[in-house]
């Protein structure tokens, strides 16, 4: 193609997902060099190769070239195709790793996406499916990506190292994304949570709930933590337990925190009471950071603002995470969008830390793959 845009070049394996996702959306090819070049075991890991396969699955006409050692990757994006798919995720990363990118891409497919993902549903590294369900989906709705189709169903739970979990993610297709003005987080009116346990005593979930409530009840009476004990085939292949908590405000902001037990055979056993207490404290930290968007979803909201109609979007965020900062740089290189970043010092004493007001004008991105009806 003569009009092929100039490709971008990066070094190292970090932020691989951002780079491939933005490349797919913007249509700019990307080259990533020196992936773990100095490592004893150089090149792409199996979970990254698995991610690239997933990208290949949801697009049509992508060109992917990887050199023999796997240290260089060239990706020329095709069209986002979507449709009804299945994917076995690598058990080395949780489904959340893959799902985060799918959340960015799904609204811009040709056919609405319905995908069954199998693998690890909850681990200690990535955002779990529970958290993404509770925080990312409401965020998509705010940008006008809604409807009955927007759903994330957890049919089986799977803990590391072996996984065996399964989720079904469906997302409708939208032609354009609405701009948002999202600057008042409101006040937290309730806290919900899920304490899950698989292949261990169901009593563990109750112990987690009690200890987490002990802390959170000092702030709010309206707390309900569901216990989710899955049995038989829906409990995956490895034992484990954990807790995810979500605070909901009067203005529909969702802030989350989560913890999971150590994978079988790694580290010392975690007491359910400690896990509950620590997770509750993590939620308080997240509330202290505050903002209108959970820290794990900062990049998702910034992406949707960038892709919005040509109008001003504003969002109040808590402290920017390193991942988000890198994402902002990537947005600049792929979409030539720079955000206006204003630090709002906490004027009132009792409302947590500094907030950051992010403002931008959308690029007026419209979904070219979607057929006009």
């Amino acid at each position: 193609m003569a009009s092929q845009p100039h490709s971008l070049s990066y070094v190292g394996c970090n932020f691989l997902r951002q780079r491939l996702v933005l490349s797919t959306l913007s249509g700019r090819p990307v080259k990533i060099r020196r992936i773990r070049a100095k490592d004893d075991n150089p090149g792409l890991r199996d979970f990254e190769a698995n991610f690239i396969r997933l990208i290949d699955k949801i697009t049509n006409g992508s060109r992917i070239e990887i050199n023999q050692t796997g240290t260089t990757l060239y990706y020329q994006p095709g069209l986002l195709y979507g449709g009804s798919l299945e994917h076995d995720c690598s058990p080395n990363r949780s489904i959340g790793y893959y799902l985060e990118s799918l959340l960015c891409l799904a609204p811009f497919m040709k056919h609405s996406l319905r995908i069954i993902l199998r693998g690890v549903t909850n681990d200690q590294v990535d955002p779990s499916v529970d958290v993404l369900k509770a925080t990312a989906l409401p965020l998509l709705k705010r940008f006008g990506i809604d409807g009955e189709e927007l759903e994330l169903k957890i049919t089986r739970r799977g803990m590391p190292p072996k996984g065996g979990g399964e989720v079904i993610f469906t997302c409708p297709v939208k032609k354009a994304v609405k701009p948002v003005q999202f600057t008042d987080p409101g006040k937290i009116k309730r806290i919900r949570g899920v304490a899950y346990s698989v292949r261990v005593s169901p009593q563990i979930a109750n112990r987690i709930v009690d200890s987490a409530r002990n802390i959170l009840n000092k702030f709010l009476p309206d707390i309900y933590i569901y216990t989710d004990h899955m049995k038989g085939t829906s409990s995956g292949k490895s034992p484990g337990f954990g807790l995810s908590l979500v605070a909901e405000t009067t203005n529909g902001v969702f802030l989350s925190a989560e913890l999971a037990s150590n994978p079988q055979g790694e580290g010392v056993a975690v007491l359910p009471e400690d896990l509950g207490t620590n997770c509750a404290k993590l939620l308080l930290e997240e509330i202290y950071r505050g903002g209108c968007v959970d820290s794990t979803n900062q990049s998702l909201v910034l992406l949707l603002m960038t892709l919005g109609q040509q109008d001003v979007s504003k969002v109040l965020l808590g402290t920017l995470s390193p991942y988000t900062i890198e994402f902002l740089r990537h947005l600049r290189s792929y979409f030539q969008i720079m955000f206006k970043i204003e630090v709002k010092p906490s004027d009132e004493e009792r409302k947590g830390g500094e907030k950051v007001l992010m403002t931008c004008v959308g690029t007026g991105f419209s979904n070219l793959s979607k057929t006009v009806k």
Binding site: V11, G12, C13, N14, F15, F219, E285, S321, V343, R350
Partner: protein, 136 residues
Amino acid sequence: NLESKSVKEEDGIESLLKEEDEYKEAADFSADTAGALKWKEDLTQKAAEAFLRQQQSAPNLRKLVYGAVAEDEEDEGEAGEELGGLFRVSRPDKESKRKADALDCSKFPVEDPQNWDLDEVMDSIRDCFVTGNWEA
């Protein structure tokens, strides 16, 4: 880029110093006329601190995000390595290299958790809840 940054910083400090001089005169004047008004003494200091604080937080976040271009800095680094022959400049920041191959994860871990058992710490987020104070 680094140079311009340091120059800017110097500028900032210089302007700060200038202000301080002006204030000193005023302070001397007041010391001559009236009795020692203690609270006035560190006004300059306070103003300077407030000024610095603002300088640090507001534009620097933008600089932090957009200032340093992480894209393909590596080429320069490699050129530098070959220059020395015997000696190798290992400065091309190890940190960014480590970052380049770090774990790709969107979670934002809490680095130094606060002690949430203390009342003061708990009070710092009290008004984020419906149970806290509602301003008009």
